[in-house]
């Protein structure tokens, strides 16, 4: 008789106040299309919390905004590998991957990534 598989512990990441401030700052810089400076703000946050997938997603969004879809996807993959136990962050990471793939015309792979973002595996 198979044993019941215990549910994995869910740990959704949150941003520390310092990271939150830097992400807010980056979003303002992003509005004025100042991509290198916005990325620099997120990188500061990443030095404080390198293991936080939300920050990798934020950095991916900056890359996406400046049209660097390869790096956007890679940041998404990095975030996805770090958020196995965090469904919400994981879904956000896969959405970023899906969007980046779509922007490069890789529609089949984008569709697969979207399904993962929706939790269909």
């Amino acid at each position: 008789m198979p044993e019941p598989v215990p549910a994995p512990v869910v740990r959704e990441p949150t941003l520390s106040p310092a990271s939150r401030a830097l992400v807010n700052q980056a979003q303002i810089q992003l509005q004025s299309k100042n991509y290198p400076v916005a990325a620099s703000s997120i990188e500061r946050a990443l030095r404080i919390e390198p293991g936080n997938p939300l920050l990798w997603i934020e950095l991916g969004k900056v890359r996406q905004a400046e049209g660097n879809y390869v790096q956007a996807e890679n940041m998404g993959r990095k975030a996805a590998s770090m958020s196995v136990n965090a469904p919400r962050a994981n879904s956000a990471a896969w959405s970023l991957i899906a969007e980046s793939l779509r922007a490069r015309g890789k529609n089949v792979q984008a569709r697969e990534a979207e399904l993962r973002a929706q939790g269909v595996r």
Binding site: P2, E3, V5, P6, R11, S16, P17, A18, R20, A21, L22, P36, V37, A39, S40, S41, E43, R44, L46, R47, I48, P50, G51, L59, Q71, N74, M75, R77, K78, S81, M82, S83, V84, N85
Partner: protein
């Protein structure tokens, strides 16, 4: 007589002609001098070496800073402790509370204006941070430490200051001590020259120079120390010409930025801006009276009055400067007396701001930038470079290397004529920033940069790459059993290759995890040959090695010449969970006006299956727990999980250790420059440096979430048979693909797999506190 009379006209004409020609010649000469001096003065007045900054310290609630650490940090930046901070660059401390006013600083991405910060610490962390309006400040960057500059071949280094950055004390002191008639003379001071000539005549040697500041400036511009009469005349004329063209204020400012004030190896310290950093570790604007007086004292003879080598002489002259300042009404005589009681206040030249100078790291910065900039741009154009160096980590890396090398030189059995050499490279694995680099035992000696240029055989450091290739192939997992037995490979040249284990024993069937942890050569060769050499050599390139290794079986045992920095690049991919990120020493470059020129953005690229990397990383944790890295456990706190691998090249020529925690990746190499044997293995040599460094860094655990496709299970470390935490020989928890079935240790037969998988996971979580 008659003849004379007769030719009087002609003689007169001849003399007049000669005189006329001489006059024209003189005028032309003066004109040339004029062109020379004005173009020198007006054109690009100084070549400005690029300034290199360390990474700035970030302050935020939760940052692991006690009040002591914070104070040390501020002292390192040359902040002055006061009762109540009023000026930028000062702070006060009351118990666990620190108040500071930061310096104005132009970062590559923002301008940081000075503001008052009140920081409360609680134990070893910042608990609260507020500005002058009592508002919470979530994050704040301190101005970064200036760690050096990229100066040209002739070695002239300087930091140029504007008149606004100079306290009025400095020009006043210079005038009183060097040239009291500066404000009124026209370049030369005849009475001073006469006086000096008289003094020198009486003394029979040169004791006093009659040079004005303007003459000193001319002399310094043309780098000529000959004291011939014609030289003196030329200098005097040029000084007068300068006075014609430029205002006194311009000349004073030029003097302050030009004059030679000390020597730091090959680096010549020019100008008061750099001298202030070099001797006091802080900007010129923040110097106090006794410090200004010392710099003015040094002008007369930077080597004779070197405050580091001849503190007594320097102090006597400083006090004389103070006395003169008092006598001539620059300052109140009482102030002069008070200042004369202060110590010299010099920072040590080793690791501190001014003199501190990290040749190996700066060399990496220079090489990075040489791809984008011409040498002249770096040494002349006044670029500002924001580097990734963390001075605290750098200091600890230098200390760990020096201490352990001294110990090893004393204790190792195999004595050699030359002392051991070593290298340490530290990176932040998640973003690939190189945060420390020690290029040799004498860290501040600029010479052969072993961290970049010593390409040495890396021995067993290759093994994790082979195991990764094996697991990625899908044929193996961490508990797969391989044979550690005799190997014999016929090479293409007809020879037969028969490698051995270091112990010269055979271990028989062993699980992958043990073969890696105990660095078994024969098991690894068998594994590599079964996976196929092309897969293995390609894996090196995927992980970041620039050139693919030759497809030779000996590569499986690490006969592969790689520099410590390249090893760091390779291992960074493991520490970063299978993502490669190019190692960086520079974050951004801005031009002299503060405009960003270039930023080196963080890039990540997936290069290996995260599941396979996770398994190998867990195996590298076992290296530290049960294998060749075990001795580190006596040094590193028991709750800190680290992963790593040792490496030893043939005949014990190279001792390597590479490994990582959550925050730091460090690679250590020890060997001899002439490649003679050291008698050290990776574990008996470099591991000691590595563990001491990791322990001192106060680093965090390596941890990563278990990938979905894997599960935890217990096996016996020696045999690889399935076991239980309370049953079997040396049971360990490892990660294997879901659904893997392992033969059970017969003594533990009652095992129910799922339950123990879960207990393994709990055990692992207990260790990593996930």
């Amino acid at each position: 007589m008659r003849a004379l009379k007769r030719y009087r006209k002609q003689i007169f004409a001849g003399v007049a002609l000669a005189f006329g020609i001489a006059l024209i010649g003189f005028t032309v000469w003066v004109f040339t001098l004029d062109r020379k001096i004005t173009s020198q003065f007006e054109g690009r007045r100084w070549t400005l070496p690029a300034q290199v900054y360390a990474q700035p310290t970030e302050l935020y609630v939760g940052q692991a800073f006690s009040a002591e650490t914070l104070e040390e940090e501020l002292k390192r930046l040359g902040y002055q402790r006061v009762e109540k901070p009023q000026q930028p660059g000062s702070y006060s401390r009351r118990g666990s509370r620190v108040d500071l006013i930061n310096r104005r600083f132009q970062f590559w991405d923002a301008l940081q204006e000075p503001q008052l910060l009140t920081i409360s610490t609680s134990g070893n962390a910042i608990a609260d941070m507020r500005n002058g309006r009592n508002e919470e400040v979530p994050i704040f960057r301190l101005d970064p430490l200036l760690i050096g500059s990229i100066f040209p071949i002739h070695g002239e280094d300087r930091v140029v200051v504007t008149p606004e950055e100079v306290s009025t004390l400095l020009p006043a002191a210079l005038k009183v001590v060097e040239d009291r008639k500066f404000d009124t003379h026209w370049g030369v001071n005849p009475s001073a020259i006469l006086r000096a000539a008289f003094v020198n005549l009486r003394a029979g040697q040169i004791e006093q120079g009659g040079s004005t500041l303007t003459q000193q400036l001319v002399k310094s511009y043309f780098l000529d120390n000959r004291r011939t009469l014609s030289r003196k005349i030329e200098e005097a004329i040029m000084a007068m010409l300068l006075e014609v063209h430029f205002s006194k204020q311009d000349l004073m400012n030029a003097y302050i930025n030009e004059i030679y004030l000390g020597q730091d190896g090959r680096r010549a310290i020019h100008g008061f801006g750099l001298a202030s950093q070099f001797y006091f570790g802080k900007p010129l604007a923040e110097l106090q009276l006794h410090e200004v007086a010392l710099l003015v004292a040094i002008v007369r003879g930077p080597s004779y009055y070197d405050p580091r080598r001849h503190p007594k002489r320097a102090r006597e002259r400083r006090d004389l400067v103070l006395k003169l300042m008092g006598e001539h009404g620059v300052i109140d005589p009482a102030m002069a007396q008070k200042a004369a009681k202060r110590p010299l206040g010099i920072v040590s030249s080793g690791t501190q701001a001014g003199g501190g100078y990290y040749p190996a790291f700066l060399d990496l910065v220079r090489r990075t930038l040489r791809r984008d900039y011409r040498e002249e741009d770096l040494t002349e154009a006044g670029l500002r470079i924001f580097s990734t160096l963390d001075p605290t980590v750098q200091t600890q890396a230098e200390e760990a290397l020096t201490l352990e090398l001294n110990r090893l030189d004393k204790t190792r059995k195999q004595k050699s004529k030359t002392p051991l050499e070593g290298v340490v490279v530290v990176t932040a694995p998640q973003n690939g920033e190189v945060i420390a680099m020690v290029g040799g035992r004498q860290a501040n000696f600029a010479g052969f940069n072993r961290a970049l240029d010593a390409k040495r055989s890396i021995g067993s450091l290759v093994k994790p790459v082979i195991y990764l290739a094996a697991i990625e192939s899908g044929q193996y997992h961490a508990a797969s059993v391989i044979e550690d037995g005799p190997v014999s490979v016929k090479l293409s040249n007809g020879q037969v290759w028969e490698p051995k284990n270091i112990s010269e024993q055979y271990y028989g069937p062993v699980p992958l995890v043990r073969a890696l942890a105990q660095s078994m050569n024969l098991a690894t060769v068998n594994l590599g040959l079964s996976v196929g050499l092309p897969k293995v050599t390609r894996e090196f390139v995927a992980l970041g090695l620039e050139r693919e290794p030759p497809q030779l079986p000996s590569v499986l045992l690490g006969s592969l010449d790689v520099s410590p920095l390249e090893v760091a690049q390779l291992y960074n991919a493991f520490a970063n969970g299978g993502f490669s990120t190019p190692l960086r020493a520079v974050r951004a470059v801005v031009d002299a006006e503060g405009e960003p020129l270039k930023s080196f953005a963080l890039e990540v690229t997936p290069v290996a299956s995260p599941d396979a990397v996770y398994q190998v990383n867990r195996m590298m944790v076992e290296v530290m727990e049960h294998g060749s890295g075990r001795s580190a456990r006596a040094v590193i706190p028991p709750d800190i999980v680290v992963a790593g691998k040792s490496g030893t090249s043939s005949d014990y020529r190279d001792s390597w250790f590479a490994g990582f925690s959550g925050q730091h990746l460090a690679v250590v190499w020890i060997g001899h420059d002439d490649n003679t044997p050291t008698g050290l293995t990776g574990s008996s040599g470099s591991l000691a440096v590595w563990s001491r460094l990791m322990a001192n860094l106060g680093t965090t655990s390596w941890s990563a979430p278990l990938p979905e496709s894997l599960e935890e299970t217990w096996i016996e470390f020696p045999t690889g048979l399935a076991a239980r935490p309370d049953c079997g020989e040396e049971p360990i928890a490892i990660a294997v693909p879901k659904g893997t079935t392992l033969p059970m240790q017969p003594a533990c037969e009652t095992n129910v797999f799922g339950e123990f998988g879960e207990r393994a996971r709990e055990w692992w979580r207990g260790i990593t506190r996930q």
